[in-house]
């Protein structure tokens, strides 16, 4: 089919569509109100709750930092505080960037570019988050046990026999899930960027 024929077919189609009844005002406003309610419900609660928990732990360690006597526990506590602040902040920032792509201001080519890049950034943050999560698994236990006076528990071999394999198994399963998702999203976003070139 030649382009001219396509254009004439399209014009014919457009003409017929224009002849259809006008959508009713009540239906239009109902669509708008329902969508608005739906968006309010769609705020990312898990991310917000997760971040509050992280910040809460960071504050807890900061307040009770002076009570830590062992040098390595002080070091672990510092690392834990840093991770608990950096990780949720980076995660929330990347989500915000992804959600703030301007449908109303940018041209489609510009928006496609921003959208793909912010998606890649989001999943990179998730990937680093995974590594930092594994570090956190180790660094959080010694200082928290010293602060709660349960250091004795950590000296028992059974604790490490359960905690380390259990923690590692969780991290491996979780990492595999994140990695698979990461690979797919990055590939799709990179394809989107290639299409723009």
């Amino acid at each position: 089919m030649e382009l001219e024929e396509m254009q004439s077919l399209w014009a014919d189609l457009s003409q017929k569509i224009e002849k259809q009844d006008k959508i009713q005002k009540e239906l239009l406003m109902e669509i708008t109100k329902q969508k608005f309610r739906n968006k309010l419900n769609g705020i990312r609660l898990p991310e917000i709750i997760g971040s509050i928990i992280c910040y809460g732990y960071a504050i807890y360690f900061m307040i009770r930092f002076s009570e830590l006597e062992l040098w390595y526990n002080q070091l672990f506590a510092l690392l834990t505080i840093a991770i608990m602040i950096v990780l949720p902040t980076a995660s929330l920032a990347s989500i915000k960037a992804m959600r703030s792509v301007k449908i109303h201001g940018d041209a489609p080519a510009e928006m496609l570019d921003k959208f793909a890049k912010s998606k890649i950034r989001f999943w990179k943050v998730q990937k680093y988050g995974m590594v930092l999560g594994a570090v956190l698994l180790i660094t959080i236990m010694p200082p928290i046990n010293e602060l709660q006076g349960t250091s004795e528990m950590m000296s028992r071999p059974i604790f490490w026999m359960l905690y380390i394999p259990g923690g590692l198994l969780f991290m491996v399963l979780f990492s595999r899930w994140v990695y698979n998702r990461y690979k797919r999203v990055i590939l799709a976003s990179e394809n989107m960027l290639t299409e723009l070139e």
Partner: protein
């Protein structure tokens, strides 16, 4: 005229345009309905910007196309918020059979293009000049030309219309 009335007028005047965007970007009836509702919502959300826009038609094309791109990237099967049993949403049933196959073929060809080229082809069929297409999509006029010749080649390489489905 109240803001609500102005908004309703804008959508009513351009409902065909919004509908065509949904056809170009999706081949499933339910997804098209959902996309239609999302475009209506996004238009309402930024209606104040629209009133300030120097070229309202460019603005509406952009909002429609951008919504389609982002919405379809995020979209997962979700129940429809409002049921759309409006007559134009069942347009395919009113098309005479002689042209039906050709129209289905045309939509299928457009949907085979990448997201940006789909928009370019749509605007071309809408009768926009390369310059206007460039302004709406945010790429240079020469880039529109290059992409259009690529699209033409791709479409020419296809055989005559084969039976396809507009939606399930």
């Amino acid at each position: 005229m109240s803001k609500e009335e102005e908004f309703v007028n804008l959508i009513q005047e351009n409902q065909g345009l919004i509908y065509k965007i949904t056809l170009v970007y999706s081949n499933e009836k339910e997804e098209q309905d959902d996309l239609y509702q999302e475009i209506v919502y996004q238009t309402w959300k930024s209606f104040d910007q629209f009133k300030k826009a120097s070229k309202p038609s460019t603005w509406l094309y952009r909002v429609g196309m951008n919504t389609a791109i982002t919405h379809l990237n995020k979209s997962k099967k979700k129940p429809l918020l409002v049921s759309l049993d409006h007559s134009f949403m069942n347009y395919s049933e009113s098309v005479d059979s002689e042209k039906e196959e050709k129209i289905k073929w045309l939509y299928a060809q457009i949907r085979n293009l990448n997201l940006l080229d789909r928009g370019i082809m749509f605007l071309f069929l809408e009768g926009k000049s390369y310059e206007e297409i460039g302004q709406i999509t945010g790429i240079s006029t020469s880039n529109v030309g290059t992409r259009m010749s690529r699209i033409k080649q791709k479409l020419k390489s296809e055989a005559t219309p084969k039976p396809t489905k507009i939606w399930n």
